[in-house]
Symmetry: C2
Subunit: 324 residues, 2 copies
């Protein structure tokens, strides 16, 4: 009897040892486990050597919350308001006007390119290290309006588990985001375990020059690359030079990345996070200004992509709040 009690006491620990504990049993979890088992089994005809186990993840709406608007937009808005007096034209020109007026429809229309334009205009002339410091400081203090937690705690617990699970199985995990690469890099290693060299994103042009005799990379008022839609496979090829075998996204902006990944030879896994959980997070798809999911949802079945329902497939959404 004593022994049984002892064993029962240990059961919760045994359950916690599931590396994907925040994933409910179901098709999505099974698809992930089966895929990883197959490509890492040396005797399988679908075995993939470690070096080629490349997994790519969209960021906004896939790894962290993107409603009521992109986190990066909140970052940019603060500085936009500070600088507006010096730029009267911004009150008339898009996407500046939309950002200042909080016009979500117009901002959605401007998309990732619009966001990069705002980022470019608000932070041009800064050095890359000054920008990294500003982004790191902002992310350390800013809070999400609804959840009242730092944005870096509004990352999805099931995705943190998936990233770790893949790395334990020899995968290299990459972010491939439409967001600005320099905005993400200061915190992705700490939050996701993804180092700066594995972050692919949109880019502002940089100028190398001596500033007061100091070698400096200066942000130019010019967009160098938009890593969104058809830009995602291009960004993957530029940075990684290998075709991924797993891609995870949440919107039509990830369509081409999913398509490029899935069409490669051998086993591939394409996954789409469907935000259908208004209670724990948000519910949105075809009509959303940020993270619109329409064509990719229609084509998921014919393309063989697994649709992950936040409500059905996730036992937890966010990590537990840190204890004081």
């Amino acid at each position: 009897m004593r022994i049984l009690t002892f064993l029962l006491l240990w059961l919760p620990l045994a359950v916690a040892a599931d590396p994907l504990a925040s994933w409910n049993d179901g098709e999505a979890k099974q698809a992930i486990i089966e895929f990883v088992a197959t490509v890492t089994e040396p005797d399988s005809p679908d075995f993939v050597p470690k070096a080629e186990r490349v997994a790519v993840f969209d960021n906004d709406g896939t790894l962290w919350v993107e409603q009521p608007f992109y986190t990066q937009l909140a970052f940019v808005l603060e500085r936009l308001r500070e600088l507006t007096d010096d730029h009267p034209d911004w009150r008339k020109e898009q996407p500046f006007k939309a950002a200042l007026e909080g016009d979500k429809a117009a901002l959605g229309e401007a998309g990732m390119e619009g966001l990069m334009q705002l980022l470019m205009a608000t932070h041009a002339g800064l050095s890359s290290s000054e920008f990294a410091d500003i982004a790191a400081d902002w992310i350390a203090t800013a809070r999400h309006s609804r959840f009242e937690r730092p944005y870096t705690e509004l990352v999805y617990q099931p995705m943190l588990e998936l990233l770790a699970y893949l790395r334990e199985h020899g995968f290299k995990t990459y972010i491939v985001s439409g967001g600005g690469i320099a905005f993400m890099r200061p915190w992705t290693e700490r939050v996701y375990g993804i180092p700066p060299e594995q972050v692919v994103g949109s880019q502002i042009a940089l100028d190398y020059k001596l500033v007061d005799g100091e070698p400096t990379l200066v942000r130019k008022p010019e967009i160098a690359f938009i890593d969104d839609k058809a830009g995602k496979p291009v960004g993957i090829q530029r940075h990684i030079g290998r075709r991924p075998i797993l891609a995870f996204g949440n919107s039509d902006g990830d369509y081409q990345m999913l398509e490029w990944t899935s069409a490669g030879p051998g086993r591939r896994l394409g996954l789409i996070l469907h935000h259908d959980d208004a209670e724990r997070e948000y519910a949105y798809d075809r009509d959303s200004h940020a993270g619109r999911l329409d064509k990719a949802l229609d084509d998921a079945e014919t393309q063989g992509w697994t649709v992950v329902s936040m409500e059905r497939d996730w036992a937890n959404v966010f990590p537990a709040a840190p204890q004081d």
Copy 2:
């Protein structure tokens, strides 16, 4: 007496166990060993965590031979000659005219940008995987005119040892070359142990589209990025997002990469290979069309860069030819 003979017989093996066996004892070898020991010693004030041990290497003239002209130029020339009948304008326009006439001075003038223009024009419209196959096929069969060996055997043995030595000490080794990224990636892992995702280079613009229903990355007749001179620190920031602590180059094209690396905080190591060995390889510096080394040589001492003399510092230049 017998025991002494036995010990003497073993001496060559003990020497062979030196990870930098092809480096002669001297200032350069000592600088490398001392630097690596310092930044990897946990109790040192100059200790650098593994994740930040980034080492960048130029390719042409630093890791492999670049005389009598860039290897990539030999590759491009074959196709240029095949296509010339369809492009009568090439006989008049630079850098095509210079390439067709073997005009080294004009080609030198055109630099890496000229080389990328040739690459762009000769291989536009190909898919990224078609181009990778063509480059891999060419490199497998082409031979260097003087040494009559494949180019991939005309890599420098001391540099292969240095790359391996750094990796054994937790460094991540990167190529940062003015050459085309897609030309290098098909063979850098096999030859240098550097995987495609750690190759930074000049880039042709890519277009993602469906070709006969197949997702394809198509090479456009457009240069996306020149990874040379002031472009090298920019390429490093884009791809790696960390400042290197060691940089190795051989020409003024590496000046800014060395400068950016050396000016960072903490211990840094900048190295320049000086080709001063006409007998075993080539002797060239200030007046060379390819790999001109002038200002970086003048400034090496004040910048604290170590100049490696091929003649004095290298016991071997190329790897031994494979035995049949």
